[in-house]
Symmetry: C2
Subunit: 340 residues, 2 copies
């Protein structure tokens, strides 16, 4: 494989060092108690006294998620796992400590068994230290289970909109319950689906960790290559857009006049040119359904190493969520000014 | 090839439509006189009366360049060419018209024969309309010709730092000569080199448009796959960093204590994780040489479709250039707040 690496064993350390060096105006490295916990990235000014801390975390390989969302008006700290593996409980605990300014911590993460287990342990340990942590688990991937089994659904790129809303709520002075409510409202109205065109390859592997045949695409693929709901012949951009929109819209269900936020993320190796071609088709379909697009984000926001493909995320907003989405933010993976 | 497209014939139109829809708060499409000119993207508020207009342009396939640098405190308009082809003279002329607020236009573009020819024609036509245009041609690619033949050197990712400095100068009220001087100073002190790990494939092609053998890398590769100066066995991140830094530093030459801006761009299909691993090694080498890193940018800033690899750009700064680099900016490909 054609990769830019030193050794597979050091890839996370090397990446974290490079990340902090490149973004030293926004973030800092938190030294951990244990060599077992790979590391924690915290906002430069964390913890902010009196502000609810926003924590996330997850496996590596999804850049800019998760550490790229640590910064101004977004997350205060992120726990870092190995490639496609949950951070340890200790890493989550360190992240809680780094983010807690005395007003409690909202831990907002994706629905994977390792993360669930480790967050639960860390929350208990934090309680013993007097840090109150409440959690919201993202489960926006509509392809990962039927709607009536949403507790089985995975969290994917919709997490970004959850962090955005909760981060803004905390920055605006919301208390822990208000921040948790904002995060919960955001993710409950957020629906995502991924389509994969190529597999991805773990650093140090000679071969991809699964297969997508040339000329086919996998609809509903997960962020780690979890099987989708259908493998079908590769379609053109309009066809891919129809499948994505067709999977996402019935899930809310979205209705004419709904004001939505749209996030279209490449999976790592998709050229931006193609993302814009795809967004053009998606926008036509959403407008055709009478939806009003409040904001849209097109880029590599939540990736799967070098996978080709994209995820579409659509969030239904109300006035509160729109105001939270619109607040300015600055972090390595996501920057915006307030609307002028 | 696994691509998200409708037809190769419509890829530029589809992409431009998607781009403007996704970034309607920042940019607008300029309708052109002629079907021959693919299009022009202008900042939403362009032209700004009394402000020098900043124009760039180039072939498509380099997203977010060129159109992703149109926005607040950066470029006012960009002319769009076909994939890897210069925009037409008419497109450049339309971009001048869209950017001219009565204080003249600085056209800042890369050193390619098609662009040189078309800009020259457009400048003449603009003069007949009473629009004064001055140009600076970027030639930051140190691998494309020896230093004493810098007029033969190609412009690559260093153009971004030129646009940043000139855009800031214009935003701060600089007149046309002052803006041109800032752009010229920026690019004269900017040095880049690319390393390619895979070739790229034009939309609609079944095969890559050149070859890089598995297990090798091409040092000094151009943004369109122009041959580099050496094909050698693929090295680890530390080795790649040594080659990049070794090529760039002697070219200024950079000296201990110099304050530099560093831009490390992926070429399209390089996972962010690997860019941070590479940046970590580059930073060590620059620090080892006694350079002071004023700011660094790591991301996909100037790409070559789906090529794997990266370009390193280092700019020597003085007080003026640092102030210009530090000004806030917001465009699709590049956003930053002013330092606080």
């Amino acid at each position: 494989m054609q990769r830019i690496l030193n050794t597979p064993e050091t890839v996370i350390e090397d990446m974290l060092d490079g990340f902090v060096k490149a973004n030293g105006h926004l973030v800092k490295r938190v030294t951990c108690d244990s060599a077992n916990s790979r590391g924690v990235i915290a906002a430069k000014d964390a913890p902010v006294p009196g502000k609810v801390g926003i924590v996330t975390g997850g496996g590596s390989g999804h850049k800019p998620a998760f550490i790229g969302y640590v910064g101004k008006n977004m997350c205060d700290a992120a726990a870092v796992g190995e490639i496609f593996s949950s951070p340890t409980a200790l890493a989550f605990l360190e992240a809680f400590r780094a983010a807690d300014g005395g007003a409690g911590v909202a831990c907002l993460y994706g629905n994977y068994s390792g993360d669930n287990m480790n967050v639960k342990m860390a929350v208990k340990a934090a309680k013993r230290e007097g840090i109150q942590v409440k959690t919201v688990i993202a489960n926006d991937d509509v392809a990962s289970a039927p709607k009536d089994q949403s507790e089985k659904r995975r969290g994917v790129a919709g997490e970004i909109l959850m962090w955005k809303c909760a981060g803004a709520k905390a920055a605006l002075g919301g208390n822990l319950d208000e921040v948790i409510q904002a995060a919960d409202k955001a993710i409950r109205h957020t629906h995502s689906i991924g389509i994969g065109l190529t597999p991805c390859t773990l650093p140090g592997s000679a071969h991809p960790n699964f297969t997508i045949q040339e000329g086919t695409m996998e609809v509903g693929i997960g962020h780690h290559g979890e099987p989708g709901i259908e493998v079908c012949p590769l379609e053109n951009a309009a066809g891919i857009a129809r499948r994505m929109v067709g999977a996402v819209l019935p899930d809310e269900p979205f209705r004419k006049g709904d004001q939505v936020v749209v996030l279209l993320s490449g999976l790592g190796a998709t050229p931006m040119l193609e993302l814009y071609v795809l967004y053009n088709e998606i926008e036509k379909l959403l407008m055709g359904e009478g939806l009003l697009i409040h904001r849209s984000y097109v880029g590599n926001y939540f990736t799967s190493l070098d996978m080709m493909g994209a995820t579409l995320t659509v969030m239904k907003t109300d006035e509160e969520l729109r105001a939270l989405i619109d607040l300015d933010a600055e972090c390595a993976g996501f920057s915006q000014s307030s609307p002028t």
